[in-house]
Amino acid sequence: MVATGDLTEPVRAIVAEVLMVPPADVQPETSLVGLGAESIDFLDLIFRIEEVVGRKVPVSRWETFINTRLPGADLSRAITLAIVLEFADQERSRT
């Protein structure tokens, strides 16, 4: 289902589903790593975000996303929902 309007709630619901945590635990400043996310969860996240934004994200772009915004090899850095939202918004605005 392609979401229209603000992506915050759909993406928040996805994060909650992917990490199996209550949606209320997912706030813009929440560290996803702190909620238990690991590399493979971000692939899951992107797959589901693709469904919401209604388009496939070329591998090169989500590789960049993972490797720069979400350091794939070392996920020790806290990842916030805000970064994921920004990624989802960028993807939707691409033509």
Partner: protein
């Protein structure tokens, strides 16, 4: 003398009970776990019965931290992880008791490849269908790739890897020692426990989570075994379909589940004051090297597995009070297995030999582990688990199969047999601690 290896904990997820207490009660009561398949719409299948784990009483998430790890697990991995958590709880092995690098995993698991229905049947087949040319049966690979990528969540690929169940178990139990997956079909659970014993004996580990897990009650699994002619078709009477050694047997009832045992070096178990449930005393394994699914009619290699196991334990046939049979309920297995034990026990009285598959079903890669768990529980609670559904003796399977009702008896030492496609033969021996 070699140092002994103790079994200090057991966890089971089976069609007749989750956790060792419920499992033991069901074995004693002779309860069947077979029923009409609920996992998928089986209408039109030749076999429409199976021994399923009751999902209303199995919550994988309650055994897993963090909870989201569940979605990365195949059904069989979730069974193994849950069984290991139960086994650890019983063993009272605490973090810090043993160096994590001295804790290993030895797991019997299902065949290689993606057996998860959503991956194989759902996404793969759909992608193939839409990528097939209209006028040709040729598969357009680039089109298949586009379709597959559009439909398939990348994380689902990881659920099909054969070693992932053991990896999940290790993550949950912080077991950083040797981690091995044995994929020898229906003897995998028995061999995994035997190889776990060896890992301790050769000094590679002090504690090993050993056992087996499998979950093949999906359309492909059921069709596959059905097409090989191995499954019972007694669809109108599921509870009486698994009837090992009975003249009216017509194949096995496919089951699912897991059993994990905590194996522990004697000195380590003693040092932390652990209670030993039994000694894992011996292991023997051979291969028929004969035919893919036919067994050697003289059962020579199976006999050798049994005698090697006895020798490994420093025991003789007279020491054995009970045998848990492979006892699938196929025509061939039960005859060949009877021949094997008769030959191996030549000159000694043949002890009672029952098939708990009559109740539990055939748990494939988990079978041997669940059956060793049944044997240990019989030893601990002084009873022989029965072979239920035994009505008409087969002259080719003349033995005391503990027909229909559990029997009070003390077990000092026991064997558990497993045989698998490909000619795999394996035998374990336990002894009262």
């Amino acid at each position: 003398m070699t140092e002994r290896v103790a079994i200090t904990g057991i966890g089971v997820v089976t069609p007749i009970g989750i956790g060792i207490a419920d499992f033991t009660s069901a074995l004693r009561a002779g309860r069947s776990g077979a029923r009409r398949i609920t996992a998928f719409d089986c209408e039109g299948f030749d076999t429409r019965i199976a021994a399923e784990v009751d999902d209303t009483s199995f919550d994988a998430g309650s055994y897993v931290k963090p909870r989201k790890m569940v979605k990365h697990m195949s059904r069989s991995a979730a069974f193994a992880v849950a069984a290991a958590a139960m086994a650890r709880c019983e063993s009272r092995l605490l973090a810090g008791d043993v160096d994590p690098y001295r804790i290993g995993v030895s797991l019997g698991a299902g065949g290689m490849g993606p057996v998860d229905l959503d991956l194989l049947a759902g996404q793969g087949v759909a992608a193939i269908a839409s990528a097939r040319g209209q006028d040709s049966d040729e598969l357009d690979i680039p089109a298949f790739a586009r379709e597959f990528r559009a439909r398939t969540n990348p994380i689902s690929m990881l659920r099909g890897l054969p070693n992932l169940a053991a990896a999940h178990l290790a993550i949950q139990q912080d077991a950083r020692g040797p981690n091995n997956t044995i994929t020898t079909a229906c003897s995998a659970g028995t061999q995994a426990i035997g190889e776990g014993l060896r890992a301790i004996q050769r000094g590679d580990a002090d504690v090993v989570f050993a056992g087996g897990t499998d979950a093949m009650i999906n359309p492909v699994g059921v069709l596959g075994f059905s097409m090989l002619g191995t499954l019972s078709r007694r669809n109108d009477d599921p509870e009486h379909a698994s009837r090992p050694f009975d003249a009216g047997r017509d194949g096995f009832v496919i089951g699912e589940g897991a059993a994990i045992l905590v194996l522990e070096r004697e000195a380590v178990a003693k040092a932390r004051g652990a209670t030993a449930l039994a000694e894992l005393a011996g292991y023997g394994c051979t291969c028929d090297a004969y035919r893919i699914t036919d067994e050697r009619p003289d059962a020579e290699a199976a006999v050798r597995a049994i005698t090697l196991c006895l020798k490994d334990a420093g025991a003789s046939a007279e020491d054995i009070d009970y045998i848990n049979a492979h006892g699938t309920g196929t025509q061939m297995n039960d005859v060949t297995e009877t021949t094997a034990v008769r030959t191996a026990f030549n000159g000694s009285g043949l002890p009672p030999m029952s098939s708990t598959k009559s109740m539990i079903g055939h748990l494939l890669a988990a079978a041997g582990a669940v059956e060793l768990a049944a044997t240990v529980t019989g030893m601990l609670h002084d009873f022989l688990p029965p072979t239920i559904n035994f009505e008409v003796p087969d002259p080719a399977c003349m033995l005391d199969c503990v027909p229909n009702d559990a029997r009070s008896a003390q077990i000092g030492a026991a064997l558990s047999n497993s045989f698998g496609f490909g000619g795999q033969n394996a035998c374990l021996m336990i002894r009262r601690w």
